[in-house]
Assembly symmetry: C2
Homo-oligomer: 441 residues x 2
């Protein structure tokens, strides 16, 4: 039986999961492929402190370049994370004609164009299912299942840390800071949580998905990105009363030849498929012009789930190697290189959504009409105004407003004017409402 | 640019959708493939009454064999439905070395083994994404994304007609017969609805999914199959009070080397992902040993959604034709032919699940203890007993019982004995409870 040797870079959480899966499912893989897939060698910076079942000690070392240049290694799995070293290793592997599988969203979001074109030049398959939404096969489905469909939008809950925190805040009525602390204690959030809670991780992932869905390079810096630090428990609670859930969403859609792509907390209708997904789970909702609305739900992280995506890619590449010497039949970025075209990203000002706003205003006659008057001046229609509770003449009460669709620019202008009113206190909350009509009932 | 010619058999709902999609997305497909995909010819029994955009009148006729033997046709899309003609056409296409795409679950469920081995012999790709769950890419994901994972279970809501009827019964409290009539008026149910509402359609689909997940031929007749005719509105309502939804589920799992596969109405916990899916939507939940629980939701039928799956398969096959002359890299049935092995199907008697039972019993002291005594004799543990309402000494009241896991055999024996008690009327309801622990929160 033909033997394919995998070289693994990085024996951390994901790397160990891959070793474990390849050992455990060896027979299943053979039944599907007729090929024996073995771990050829492993490079890890702390190799001396580690071991891997079925891998001789000599084949686990710190020699990354040795692995990348080893003619006996057929496929390289880059599982070290980070951007600079990962980029260098991936490019070297491709240059050596080795197909690459990676679980690394950062390196693809930042150096994707360089990596994609190197893969094309080398004619090597590049698998990166594990880079977005862990075990959910969204990369595969955007590259293949929806290859003949125009994607109207792709939106997801792509960061498990944020989803865990928001789910806990929703269920327990707890505030952000306390919930973050618990998440850190449970290992769901890093000691330095900025990468997750400020939306950076989600922006990397939606950049990759938008690239595949629309055939466009995506400039990370241009993605309007807002995290969840500013979310108050009270707004989650008011949102709930109104029939919504607060989620960190990442969304991309093509609109009149431009790309509306962004990451921010949003209120989603409670029947929206993304509203149903709690805790550390991930979900991606795709609307195809023909396929209609679809949702994919699963584990967005974790050793085993991520490993299953990595090994799924390996299996696919093994088929290529077996059948036609590894020549890739699929463009890495879903579109043929010369038919990709850069879509301009919509500036935040131009993005239009409905809004939820909570002011703190004096409970006096005439206040409501002054506030709604300002919205009217900026041509922003109001769907609902709710004053929460009653107060004395000089006390502030929460005033919750749901608007119809408005541009960020009009909203910021209206907001500036309203906050300068003497009856409104400077504290306020603003959330976009996302309601793409996706529902499954 | 290379040109690939599709031959379409059947210009009904799906066939017209495919013509429309291929015309509409021609440019997108070229940007992804670098190949022009055109409709070469169409065979339809009522060709004289039909037309297709972009297809010359002469190329739309009733000559099925002419199309199948036409050397200019590169791929055949079988969209006529039914089993005998479809089987003949598919085999003829494969014999002629043409890759085949089909949306036909019946022909695959009944003649799958013959068709799969013909495809292997011919070395031709066989696409059948559209045969199960319409636009949801579940065939692709079982064949590819989960190729390296052991599937613990695959379960789905695979029949939109049943799901529509049960959703309506749940929301409106209406009875089955009246709801079926509305479904027929709306076109969601056929004039002869047996194929859908008796679970036959769902059994065809789960047979295909089990085949892919476990590498086993599945004998349709051996699948315990029960439809939704017997469902009473009152049980849906009681189930709801208990925190469950009633759904027609199709499920397959390997258990100790045998296949537990069945189709029946079941009570699912309301947080179960399949519970969230209403109306004509379909959903498939897959639990992978490594990938963990996943759910896929989308449109299970309809011209455009089904066409998107058909054309997705066509695009994949075009890549094969472009790169290596159509030699299939993927076994049609996911496992290599000689590594498939037939799993014996668990007999209904042996299947173990928790149960919901509703009796109609006299409201007298001692009745509860007599009934629970019988369950005790058959070693069936009871989780909940609820008497619904009070009645006079000679009146019957509903008695709702939830059991722990029990075999169908014990349950039928207990049931027989209980129904022979003089305090219990012969009318009763029995529903299995499915609770595989899949939840995404």
């Amino acid at each position: 039986m033909k033997k394919i040797r995998i070289g693994i870079l990085g024996l951390g959480t994901v790397g160990s999961g891959v070793v474990c899966l390849l050992n455990e499912q060896r027979e299943l893989i053979q039944r599907r492929l007729g090929v024996e897939v073995v771990i050829g060698r492993i490079a890890d910076r702390s190799a001396h402190r580690k071991s891997a079942e079925g891998v001789p000690e000599d084949n686990l070392n710190t020699d990354f370049d040795g692995l990348l240049d080893d003619p006996d290694i057929d496929i390289v799995a880059e599982l070290i994370g980070g951007t600079e070293d990962a980029r260098r290793h991936i490019l070297r592997a491709l240059k050596n004609g080795k197909p690459v599988v990676t679980a690394n969203k950062a390196v693809l979001a930042i150096h994707g164009e360089e990596i994609f074109s190197s893969a094309e030049e080398a004619g090597c398959p590049l698998g990166f299912e594990a880079s977005v939404a862990g075990g959910i096969p969204i990369v595969r489905n955007l590259r293949e299942a929806f290859a003949a469909d125009r994607i109207e939008s792709v939106a997801g809950i792509l960061n498990g840390t944020c989803n865990y925190i928001l789910t806990e805040m929703t269920e327990k009525g707890a505030e952000f800071a306390a919930t973050l602390k618990i998440a850190q204690e449970l290992g769901y959030a890093e000691a330095d949580p900025a990468f997750d809670i400020d939306g950076v991780d989600a922006s990397h992932k939606i950049a990759i998905l938008a690239n595949l869905a629309y055939g466009t390079p995506v400039d990370l810096e241009a993605i309007p990105t807002e995290g969840i630090r500013g979310i108050d428990a009270i707004d989650i609670s008011f949102a709930r009363d109104l029939g919504f859930r607060v989620k960190l969403i990442a969304i991309a859609r093509e609109t009149e030849g431009r790309l509306d792509i962004r990451v921010h907390p949003a209120m989603l209708p409670e029947h929206h498929p993304l509203s149903q997904v709690g805790g550390v789970f991930n979900s991606v909702a795709v609307v195809g012009a023909n396929a209609g609305p679809q949702a994919f739900i699963g584990q967005g992280a974790g050793s085993a789930a991520t490993a299953s995506a990595v090994v799924g890619d390996i299996v696919e590449i093994v088929r290529w190697l077996r059948d036609n010497g590894g020549q890739s039949r699929l463009p890495a970025a879903a579109f043929l290189p010369d038919s990709r075209r850069r879509l301009k990203i919509l500036s935040p000002k131009e993005v239009r959504t409905p809004y939820y706003i909570r002011f703190s205003a004096l409970d006096r006659p005439g206040v409501l009409s002054r506030i709604s008057g300002v919205f009217g001046n900026f041509d922003i229609g109001l769907e609902t105004i709710i004053q929460k509770g009653r107060a004395g003449r000089d006390d502030h009460v929460p005033l919750v407003i749901m608007t119809y669709e408005a541009s960020e620019e009009s909203m910021q202008n209206a907001l500036g004017e309203i906050l300068s009113l003497d009856v409104v206190s400077p504290e306020y909350a603003l959330l976009r409402v996302e309601s793409d009509g996706t529902r499954f009932a």
